[in-house]
Amino acid sequence: MSDQKKIDNNKRDFVALTASAVAGVGAASAVIPFVKSMNPAKDVQALASIEVNISGLEPGDEMKVKWRGKPVFIKRRTEAELQTARSVSLDELPDPETDSDRVKSGKEEFLVVLGVCTHLGCVPLGKGSGEYDAWFCPCHGSHYDVSGRIRKGPAPKNLLVPEYSFVNDDIIKIG
């Protein structure tokens, strides 16, 4: 191969390489918006956090709200229920967790948990159901206590506590 042809070939390779790199960058940038379009849309994101008015909850009351398409139980425990919840020894619990770890300090009477059974996802029955007078999942017989902890049955974990905070005494923001 003559020197001129070698130079031309090298030039051509360089040009071809640069051109392919540019095309590659273009193609990759074109893919990004399509991938992003599958992320939650803005109207779904707007409902990612909700504010719930709990001023009507008396001790012993329980309410159910919808958050991100799933039920959330908000329970205001009575003094007696709080005592029961705190006195449980951690050895008895399949998923050991103290009640105080599952509530906000200063607002311990309020329990906020995701109403989705940690076994296979059914919504447990509330209002004092089951052997621990709180929640009972009818699908496969999981029993949860007044702290939303699993006590008996196939569910492996306690009812999930979502991210939440007290905006003021009457309103909590979930998510």
Binding site: R12, A16, V22, D43, A46
Partner: protein, 252 residues
Amino acid sequence: MLTKFLKISLLLVLTSNNVFAAGDAEPLIKRIWQFEGVKGSIDKRSAQRGFQVYKEVCASCHSLKRVYFRNLAEIGFNEAEIKSLAATYQITDGPDESGDMYERAGRASDKFPMPYPNENAARAANGGAYPPDLSLIVKARPDGANYLYSLLNGYRNPPESLNLGDGMYYNIYYPGKQIAMPSPLSDGLVEYADNTNATIDQMSVDLVNFLQWTAEPEMEARNRMGIKVILFLIAFTILFYIAKKRIWSDVE
């Protein structure tokens, strides 16, 4: 080449407004808008004033049902302002546990509520005419921005010869020239929060800026991305032209 020329001339013919021109329409007043052109952007202060005009003048009859309160952040309202604005509206929600619909204060995630529950109610309240939803109105009319501006400034006394229908008004820019809406704007009708003088001209400019935003909220992002994309593609094309010439240099 000939076909390229024909292709381009075809595109030019079709992208001019000739294709959809009506018969004896009054030529529209053409203004220069900040949102026009490759570098177009929304004049946010004007859009905020336009929102005030919509809220105080138009909203009693015209819905804006595709806009959410949270969208107002795009024209410069902050989260607190949006929250308190939304809360001034009553939104129908429900059914509650007894099966009834109820009213609650609006939230940022709600849409602007409609002044009438449905189209029939709207027509009944307006002599059979339906005040159209305004969210998309700028895109739903040929040369929408200039059309809207002209319309708002187009009310005149009807000519002697014309027999004006019952409940109709004379507007030189409306197709057919008779419109069921009375002139909605008058000087000083709105007291602008920023103390701008509220002439008909000012209010119509502000309203058009606002409604342009409601129709195309993505416009600024689209323009910005467009400039980047086209510059990249021009560079890409030039690069590939050079590559083509190089690679073809050895063909005999």
